[in-house]
């Protein structure tokens, strides 16, 4: 029978099907961090069970970590306690631990691919919903709860009903200044935050085929924001080129065997999806969100839609706009921006800093904007320096912070103050997501850069001077 890419990877990992229940799914790679793992380890302890395959789990500290002065002890006792718990649990159970200060430390979804832990055709889980990022490699990757973290630690399996399948096709040439983030925000704005709930998405079409791995990761990362369990893109030469030779990638004979498997990972021509959607890539503009969920996004030159055209019902819509201090019909262009945040597992990779730099080069940071540039990992940090981006950024009045999740969820000190407006390259604009009372506008690194040098929401296309340099 014809199969989709998703079917192939899923079916390969089903240990057992339960009549009238979920599938028992084997997990190849498990990523853990300090926030959602401690209670899972407590569970193991109280049941007196071991970690079945410690070599399949990797621990990194990211959610809670400070992004300055990482060489100093962490001040917040609760955060410090979680970091300590991750370390001692990892040591006790023989799990690789990349804690704060470790050279491999970084955001879990950034370091996983960088070190080749992420592989095409693998099943990957983590107690973080943006695990969907790894789908960019043709892996089945999704976020799980702490009970499931305990399941994976103890048996390397979780129990999940097989989701339905959706394919989203985007073809055509993307316009100037339109990045993978814009493609994703556009799709979410079309589907709403619940439009893909119950589905696993495959992205197809030349827009994704032409994307770099970094771009594909940005797109797959945001799959969860339309409710999808995850999203994936069939591996191709771009994928294989990226994966080859990384520290944890298969080597020698194992690589040949893996390669043969990777080549099988595509949807059969006549395979059927439960739902299929197609969009025209050339119609997508640079996007920005105006509300309090990622589905409330629009082209940057548009006006805030009225309630009649918005998802979520009039009361919810009014609450959302009230929180943001915006009104129906407003233009976003020219709105005051107090903070700019570039980072997170959505847009904290090297390409994102290249894009940001391409706009701010030769300009200067606006005086009354606070800008946090937070690389996703030490590798990204090093690339920024090696490529000379840091010099350009410094020249333009910016500084670079140290890797971590930072203001994406504001568990550390990087909090946007109440009432302040932030243009953020992260993934969620929920009420208070970036700090109690914070107001978030999600956008691409280009839009973030345009805001950083002008102090207001600005269409980055008006600032693009050197098109060749643009990523």
């Amino acid at each position: 029978m014809s199969k989709t890419l998703f079917d192939k990877v899923w079916d390969t990992h089903v240990v057992r099907k339960i009549e009238g229940g979920p599938d028992v799914l084997f997990i190849d790679r498990h990523l853990i961090h300090e926030v959602t793992s401690p209670v899972a380890f407590l569970g193991l302890k109280s049941r007196g069970i071991k970690v079945l395959y410690p070599e399949r789990t990797f621990a990194t500290a990211d959610h809670n970590t400070p992004t300055i002065n990482q060489h100093l002890p962490v001040e917040d006792p609760l955060s410090a306690n979680q970091l300590k718990a991750l370390e001692s649990n990892s040591n006790e159970y023989g799990i690789s631990h990349w804690g704060l200060g470790h050279q491999k430390n970084g955001i879990v979804h950034v370091v996983g691919p960088e070190y080749g832990i992420t592989q095409p055709g693998a099943t990957i889980v983590c107690g973080d919903s943006h695990t969907s990022t790894h789908g960019a490699f043709g892996a089945i990757a999704f976020g799980i709860g702490t009970s499931e973290v305990e399941m994976v630690l103890s048996t390397q399996c979780i129990m999940q009903p097989k989701p339905k399948k959706m394919r989203i096709n985007v073809n055509g040439k993307l316009g100037l200044g339109v990045t993978p983030k814009d493609v994703a925000l556009f799709i979410i704005s079309q589907l709403s935050t619940s439009g893909a709930t119950g589905y696993f998405v495959e992205y197809a079409g030349d827009v994704f085929e032409n994307m770099t791995m970094e771009g594909r990761m940005t797109v797959c990362n945001l799959s969860i924001e339309m409710g999808a369990r995850g999203g994936m893109i069939a591996p191709d030469e771009t994928t294989i080129e990226y994966v080859k030779g990384r520290e944890f990638s298969p080597k020698g004979e194992a690589w040949d065997k893996a390669l043969a498997y990777y080549k099988t990972l595509k949807t059969d021509a006549d395979a059927v999806f439960d739902k299929e959607l197609t969009f025209d890539g050339s119609s997508i503009e640079p996007m920005i969100t105006y509300g309090t969920n990622p589905g409330m996004g629009m082209g940057i030159s548009q006006e805030i839609p009225d309630a009649a055209h918005a998802e979520g019902g009039a009361a919810t819509y009014a609450k959302s706009l009230g929180y943001m201090g915006f009104s129906e019909g407003d233009s976003m262009i020219g709105k005051k921006v107090d903070f700019v945040f570039v980072g997170s597992c959505t847009n904290g990779r090297i390409e994102d800093f290249r894009a940001f730099t391409s706009i701010v080069k030769g300009k200067h940071k606006a005086d009354d904007v606070t800008v946090w540039l937070v690389p996703g990992s030490h590798i990204v940090e090093a690339q920024i320096k090696e490529e000379g981006l840091l010099d350009i950024l410094t020249e333009a009045g910016f500084t670079l912070r140290q890797p971590g999740c930072s203001a994406c969820l504001a568990m550390n000190d990087d909090k946007i103050p109440a009432g302040k407006y932030a243009v953020s390259t992260s993934n969620r604009n929920f009420e208070g997501r970036q700090g109690p009372g914070s107001r978030t506008m999600l956008a691409s690194p280009l839009v973030a850069a345009a805001a950083a040098v002008t102090g207001v929401v600005t269409d980055p296309r008006t600032l693009i001077e050197n098109v060749e340099e643009l990523v």
Binding site: P38, L42, Q82, T131, S154, T197, G312, G313, G437
Partner: protein, 198 residues
């Protein structure tokens, strides 16, 4: 951790008629710093429930003494956002045993089932009826009957059936969890692991 058994729950309900209630509202990230599963109920809906100076916000349902009960009735797309199981823990720890909505986000629903909170998905029309019934009488009772898979507005007798997989239903009725099951098939898992492509 095995959890409480769930059979028939008869209770008043707390109405929260807002759509897209996300996990950052259920439990804001700054309250995720514990290394044990205790006390999360105090911070359920923290920023909707309390002012920055920690005084309760009078207009929020959880602070309105006329509403109480073990059932939380939410708007469409309840629990969207992060995978934090802490959101379900907070719901449980506050004292809810059942959440009713016309539509749930996937991960939140899963997390609830894994800790013994029953997610009951009803039609938008029935959700509307529940909201209306509570508005008319905050003491109105709902019966959630897991063996029969029904939810009933006791005053009017109006009822609807809901879906749950036979496996999860059995777990909820008996207070079993998935880890018990997975442990029991460990040899099969270890055998399976020998034949993986990667």
């Amino acid at each position: 951790m095995a959890y409480d058994k769930f059979n028939i729950l008869t209770s008043t309900a707390v109405p929260l008629a807002i759509e897209n209630v996300d996990t950052d509202q259920l439990i804001p990230a700054r309250f995720l710093k514990a290394t044990e599963r205790v006390g999360f109920g105090d911070n359920l809906f923290r920023d909707w429930r309390y002012n920055p100076d920690n005084t309760p916000k009078k207009d929020f349902v959880l602070n309105n003494p006329i509403y109480s009960g073990k059932i939380l009735v939410g708007g469409k797309n309840f629990g969207s956002g992060s995978s934090r199981e802490h959101a379900a823990w907070a719901v449980y720890d506050y004292g809810f045993r059942c959440v009713v909505s016309s539509f749930f986000a996937d991960i939140f629903r899963n997390n609830c089932l894994n800790i013994g909170v029953l997610p009951v998905q009803v039609s938008p029309e029935f959700a509307e009826k529940i909201f209306e019934a509570i508005a008319a009488d905050p003491n109105t009772e709902l019966e959630v009957n897991l063996p029969e898979q029904t939810i009933t507005l006791l005053a009017s007798g109006e009822k609807e059936t809901f879906e749950i997989s036979p496996y999860k239903k059995d777990n909820m009725l008996n207070g079993f969890d998935d880890i018990d099951y997975l442990q029991s098939i460990k040899p099969e898992i270890e055998e399976f692991a020998l034949h993986l492509p990667l």
